[in-house]
């Protein structure tokens, strides 16, 4: 077996040193009745060539985004990733390192995490950001729990209808066995302003936080400033959610608009679609709440010679010290995804990010203008970044299947996320990133004009 260095002579020499007759003897501690005698009923080992072939077969049965006109977004976005990013994250010193428990030989990881935290905080408009979470959805759940810790005694979280359906479901799961209430508003893709007005009316003395996504699941951008003001007036916190991180190159950050905790899905920078994971949760907040923040943190310090260096810090919040009193049960971050993000962000810089974001917005504007020329299509957005929703004159899901046959992946039918909501049946959510060509839009429009 190519990954195992010992041959039988090595094993024999080691057994002699140990004073054991056989390897079986080392497993005698397992009760005889359950100790396996035979190999399990699975295939035997395979060569690298054979395994490579098997995975090419799996891959062949999928249709990669690059081979289609591709408008699928809704929480995961296809952006061009510079080749440098993948080269860097495959360097063994990054790829095969672990959590930097020994900082003297882990400054590479610690320095990029410190740089990542700074980029994330600046992008989200927050004082501080942590070293990342599993993904945007779990970060959202953690934000709600954190708000509850800060606003002691207040147990209710109010969730806007525009929050991604999966984020809402994950948050519900995370609150399931606590004494926290989650009040979720129904999605109202046609009336984003009304959704928020109803939500503000619902805030009461028991409300710990209000959760709003922008751009929301249907692509609507929200001005959080009046909301933050109203939420703060009632003594509650505003949790803002961003699922398309590139939007923050064009749109005012939630922190600037007054959000107290900002969480985001960072996949859009540096990380591929990967069928949903691994992704990258970003988490930022105000300086005064830092000790209530979940997740790992890298902090600056000096070594014994006075030289600047970095360490994991404030670990008294974490479970290896605090055990059942920890702020969260989270143990890992998304280290390598954070590296991919930070390398991509460094390549872009502010100038590049702003340009990339503008390009995305331009594509979406082009798409919207083109869709508006079609009969049977009603565009629902007036204020958006790179994603819009349309109401069709027929159910979206079957239409998508037809378009897929024509090499167009035209978006996400809202019914996939809300299958029981009849109002969602005809709604299609389309994203247009910089990877979408003008020809792709032409192709979509001509196919739609034939199918509708």
């Amino acid at each position: 077996m190519r990954y195992l260095p010992h041959n039988d002579a090595d094993r024999q020499a080691m057994l002699s040193a140990i004073g054991a007759r056989s390897i079986d003897e080392l497993f005698q501690v397992i009760p005889e009745a359950v100790r396996l005698k035979d190999l399990l009923d699975l295939p035997l080992h395979k060569s690298e060539l054979e395994v490579d072939r098997i995975f090419r077969d799996y891959a062949r049965q999928n249709i990669p985004a690059a081979e289609h006109a591709f408008f699928v977004g809704c929480g995961a976005y296809r952006h061009h990733i510079p080749a440098t990013v993948d080269y860097i994250i495959q360097r063994g010193e990054f790829l095969t390192a672990y959590t930097p428990y020994q900082p003297e030989i882990a400054q590479g990881t610690l320095q990029y995490l410190f740089e990542f935290q700074t980029q994330a905080a600046n992008l989200l408009g927050c004082d501080v950001a942590n070293a990342s979470m599993y993904d945007g959805s779990t970060a959202c759940g953690e934000a709600i729990l954190m708000a509850r810790r800060i606003t002691r005694g207040r147990n209710k979280a109010i969730v806007s209808g525009g929050l991604h359906a999966h984020y809402r479901a994950v948050s519900k799961t995370m609150m399931k066995y606590s004494d926290k209430d989650l009040v979720c508003f129904d999605p109202s893709p046609d009336d984003p302003e009304g959704d928020l007005a109803r939500l503000l009316d619902a805030i009461d003395d028991a409300t710990s936080c209000v959760v709003i996504q922008t751009p929301d699941m249907f692509g609507h951008l929200h001005d959080l400033r009046p909301i933050a003001e109203a939420v703060h007036a009632k003594g509650a916190l505003l949790v803002a959610v961003v699922t398309e991180i590139v939007s923050l190159g064009a749109v005012m950050s939630p922190g600037e608009m007054g959000a107290d905790i900002v969480v985001a899905e960072g996949q859009g920078l540096g990380n591929g679609l990967n069928f949903g994971g691994p992704y990258l949760g970003l988490f930022g907040t105000r300086q005064k709440y830092v000790r209530q923040m979940p997740g790992r943190l890298a902090g600056e310090t000096t070594d014994a010679d006075g030289k600047r260096g970095f360490v994991l810090t404030l670990s008294t919040r974490e479970q290896h010290i605090r055990r059942e009193k920890a702020t969260s049960n989270i143990c890992t971050n998304s280290g390598l995804c954070a590296l991919a993000f930070t390398v991509h962000m460094t390549l872009l810089g502010e100038a590049g990010l702003r340009k990339l974001a503008t390009l995305n917005h331009k594509r979406a504007v082009t798409l919207k203008n083109a869709l508006e020329t079609l009969p049977g299509v009603e565009v629902l957005n007036s204020r958006f970044f790179n994603e819009i929703s349309v109401r069709l004159n027929q159910p979206a899901a079957p239409l998508l299947e037809k378009l897929a046959q024509r090499k167009i992946l035209a978006g996400v039918p809202a019914s996939r996320l809300y299958p029981d909501d009849a109002d969602m049946k005809n709604i299609l959510i389309l994203a247009a990133t910089e990877t979408v060509h003008d020809q792709d839009i032409d192709k979509l429009i001509s196919a739609l004009s034939e199918e509708l």
Partner: protein
């Protein structure tokens, strides 16, 4: 071209080694100082070329971002150099021996990286029509089959994103199952030796945690478990092999007792590497167990994630597993993403379908090894740990008598009176070129040193490690404290001040002017 070597000295003059000049650049040959990107880049530079945009009518509705964001950019060559230099300040498995106990730092095969990047597996969207991702769903189903067969368990949920997330998944399923039978139990039993995430997880699910002491031999105290069981106990969270590197031989008796008392049995599968192919958790009475794909199944640790922690379930818990999961229909494979009528699932744990990128790598690892290779993995992992234990037991102090499973645990009795602590010893190991073992864990052992070699280390590496450890132990006993207290001497940094970092946390770079103003 022929090099003209005339006049170039070819012999080496002996130079006194203690006369090392300072350098103007601050670099030391191959060891480069590297500033932060915020100190070398600026907001105007970029390392990407994007098409020109021109003017168009925007629809941002007055929410344009106007203030500077402060994100420095670097050109591509500068970027490559920055991160290459940072990488050279890191220790990985590729660099050397990494016996970090409980973390299973085994070799990460590059084939896995290669296949995970096939566009048909990497460039697919989680919400594409199912008809366009049948291969991905098939891969998930095949991975599930391997995991269920290797554990002898009838169900698996792939979604959890890490080991601790798997624990959450398992304990939520336990609570859902108990509530479904109208049983509002309040307590989870957790041994003293458990990973810190175990009690944190139980508390997260609304349970009170009751600690179970370890015996003098390093096992869970069965009598204490039995005494603690009762109508209020929802279950137990047990690691097997445990964090002392020992197999809990009374596990079946414990499982029976827990079940008799109406509770359920969660097993922390962090140490599955020691027993894969040797025993089936399904034969041990376990109801739920997470598997760290980044430990046993070699997906890269990546400097602290991403991980992946699928959970296998017993028949009793399978109905409560989270969404989504793959089902086979007459039209092919289908992803069940929403609860259907009478669905008992406790809900959704993550957006989308879990860590596909990790599934690909783990399955490539499994297919490469096969059932024969995976059994050999456990065999060699246990052999290596016992070899280290037997070669060091006369020089250091094993925490417990007898043989171990996949990791060898020592305490700090051999350092008593030397003035050297476990931490000092670990830092001296860095100078020897090794990544230190896990220190001060498990908590049940004084000054613990937990050494997990894994199966991918050669005998030559182990022998070199053993020689270093023996020499260090001897040096400590001989009173050579200098080599410990000042260590590491040969790392690019001396010991870092963690107290200072925590007292006045600096978690973000600020421009010098802002830094001065703050002081």
């Amino acid at each position: 071209m022929v090099m003209n070597r005339q006049g170039r000295p070819t012999s080496v003059e002996t130079v006194p080694t203690d006369q090392r000049p300072d350098t103007t650049s601050g670099h030391r040959g191959l060891v480069h100082e590297e500033a932060l990107i915020f100190e070398i880049g600026d907001n105007a530079h970029t390392g990407v070329d994007l098409e020109d945009i021109g003017t168009f009518e925007t629809s941002l509705g007055g929410l344009e971002r106007k203030e500077p964001i402060n994100l420095p950019g670097l050109s591509e060559p500068q970027t490559v150099r920055h991160y290459t230099r940072l990488s050279q300040k890191n220790y990985g498995i590729d660099s050397g021996f990494f016996p970090l106990g409980s973390c299973t730092m085994k070799h990460n095969p590059r084939l896995n990286e290669k296949v995970a990047r096939l566009p048909g597996l990497a460039d697919i969207h989680p919400l594409q029509p199912e008809s366009t991702v049948q291969g991905a769903l098939q891969l998930m189903e095949d991975l599930a089959h391997w995991l269920m067969t290797l554990t002898g368990m009838p169900a698996v949920s792939l979604s959890p994103k890490a080991g601790a997330h798997g624990e959450l998944c398992g304990i939520m399923a336990i609570r859902a199952a108990l509530e479904a039978r109208g049983d509002a139990r309040k307590v989870i039993l957790v041994p003293d030796s458990a990973h810190g995430t175990n009690p944190a997880t139980a508390a997260f699910c609304g349970y009170a945690v009751k600690s179970i002491p370890a015996t003098k031999a390093g096992h869970v105290n069965v009598a204490a478990v039995k005494a603690a069981l009762g109508p209020d106990v929802a279950g137990i969270m047990l690691t097997n092999p445990n964090t002392c590197g020992l197999f809990e031989r009374d596990i079946i008796e414990i499982a029976d007792a827990v079940h008799e008392a109406g509770g359920l049995f969660y097993c922390d599968g962090a140490n599955f590497n020691a027993i894969v192919g040797r025993v089936l958790p399904g034969d041990l009475g376990i109801d739920a167990m997470h598997l760290n794909l980044h430990k046993t199944f070699s997906t890269p640790h990546g400097g602290g994630g991403p991980g992946s922690g699928p959970v296998v379930f017993s028949e009793a818990l399978a109905p409560y597993a989270p969404l989504p999961y793959v089902v086979r229909t007459k039209d092919g494979l289908h992803l069940r993403e929403h609860p259907e009528k009478d669905d008992a699932s406790f809900g959704r744990l993550v957006a989308f379908h879990g860590q596909m990128g990790m599934y690909v790598r783990a399955l490539a690892y499994m297919l490469s090894h096969g059932s024969d290779g995976l059994r050999q993995v456990a065999d060699d992992a246990v052999l290596n740990a016992n070899y280290i234990l037997s070669e060091l037991k006369d020089f250091m102090t094993p925490a417990f008598e007898g043989r171990c499973m996949h990791e060898a645990l020592f305490d700090d009795r051999f350092l008593k009176g030397t003035g050297v602590t476990t931490l000092d010893f670990a830092k001296a190991m860095i100078d020897e070129g090794f990544h230190p073992m896990t220190m001060y864990f498990p908590l049940v052992v004084q000054g613990a040193m937990l050494i997990e070699p894994t199966e991918t280390e050669s005998k030559a590496t182990l022998d070199q490690f053993i020689a270093s450890m023996r020499a260090l132990a001897a040096a400590a006993k001989d009173g050579d404290t200098h080599r410990f207290l000042g260590a590491p001497f040969y790392a690019p940094w001396k010991r870092l001040d963690e107290t200072k970092a925590a007292r006045q946390p600096v978690l973000k770079w600020s421009p010098p002017a802002a830094q001065e103003a703050a002081e």
